[in-house]
Amino acid sequence: MNIVSLVLQAGLRDLARNRWVAAYALGFLVITEGLFWFGGTGPQVALSLLNVVLIVVPLVALVFGTIHVYASREFVELLLAQPVPRGQLFIGQFLGLALPLSGAFAVGAGIPFAWHAGAGPGGGALLALLVAGVALSVSFAAIATWIALRTDDRLKGVGLALAVWLATTVVYDGFVLGAAAAFGDYPLERPLLALMAGNPVDLARVLVLTQLDVSALMGYTGALFERTFGTGIGTGVAVATLALWCAAPLALAARRFQRRDF
């Protein structure tokens, strides 16, 4: 068995027994089931759940991810002292964090949908929501890993992770809105599309909303996005850009892991 899968298996065993990961999955299960319980249909539940996903998934991936990487440091040092290449160890460690987080979200949100909605009208929205949630989990887990590998001071690292969460979920939208208001006399379509691509949370929002055909809720950038690309191509562009948002921080974290002194 190769080193990646060995380290990944150990990571999965560890986090499968982690009570916070279990609580995270259970939390999504309860919220999703609750939304169905109060009479929602598939698309309505997906829409309500979207707001929870956009806030909670980045927060958990950033804070839990940063703390987990710090807590694993001594174990990583022990593994690095074995005859294993750093690159493979990093991939195993990262997947051992990202897969349980993604899985906990997908199981927690997916089971009630599968139970209530099946392949009904909410199917496309559910799929988009699951893709968006998993992509956000992976992307923010990679950002958390990069932060923890760059910052030796644990308090600073967690603080930085919280700052990234605030910036992407709260501040960024205000910044975009402010820019749109301030430069309203200029053609802003392209700059605003570029700004949207600069935030994985915005991309995840648009990805799900384009499936729900609720343009009134998409906001300016979302509506612009759909008008520019159309639903089909727009979905593809959003997924591809989200994939880039997973790959780029992961590449930065991998580079840092390869070069840093432990």
Binding site: M1, I3, L6, V7, Q9, A10, G11, R13, D14, L15, A16, R17, N18, A71, S72, R73, E74, F75, E77, L78, L79, L80, A81, Q82, P83, V84, P85, R86, D261, F262
Partner: protein, 256 residues
Amino acid sequence: MITATSIRKRFGTLDVLHDVSLDVRSGAVTALVGPNGSGKTTLIKIVLGLARADAGAFSVNGAVADAAGRYRRHIGYMPQAARFPENLRVRDVLDLVRALRPGEPRDEELVTAFSLAAEMDKLVGTLSGGTRQKVNAAVAFLFRPSLLILDEPTAGLDPIAAGILKDKIRQVRAEGRSVLITSHILTELEELADDVAFLCDGHLRFAGTVAALLERTRERRLEAAIAALMRSERSRAAAMPSPEPPAWLPAEVERS
């Protein structure tokens, strides 16, 4: 054995290791000693590949450091703190390390001697500090590498377990393998060490046999000899005029 030549390491503006050259010979226990912050841990981390030297080279049993880390097949490492993932069972930890080093000859003696069979299905997070340290030692000695690097190995162990570990270290030496050990328990080093490497402020101030160190410091016990080295270095660092500068203290690296 380790052959290290002119190892240099700097963190920011701080020079941690200055041209350290050291041979750790086969069939001997070498004590790496020095005050806190003297560069011991950095030197160990460089040999393990956890940190990279800014200059210099080293080999372990003739194998030079490679990107894939294959040379670490020659090394067993026991860190000071055993921080395994809390939700792994003891069995998971041992199985992982066994699987990471396939085909290497095994040595399960410490697993048996520490009676770890009874702990195998327990989660690491539920173990006492002493039992974690036993697992830590068992992991380090799980194979038969030519070099064992032990960082404060008996810290947290009860006297019986510490005795078992010391016997194991002597056995490794008798088999002609090398042990590099750091410890602040000087009586323990006195029991085990054949050679001493003394680091201070990143300079290797002494490297040689215990007998040579005793002779130079005119002391009868290793503990007193190392304490004398530390005191002299402290005086030197504080730039206080030493009443009688010891004749045995070399200005630069001294080999015996």
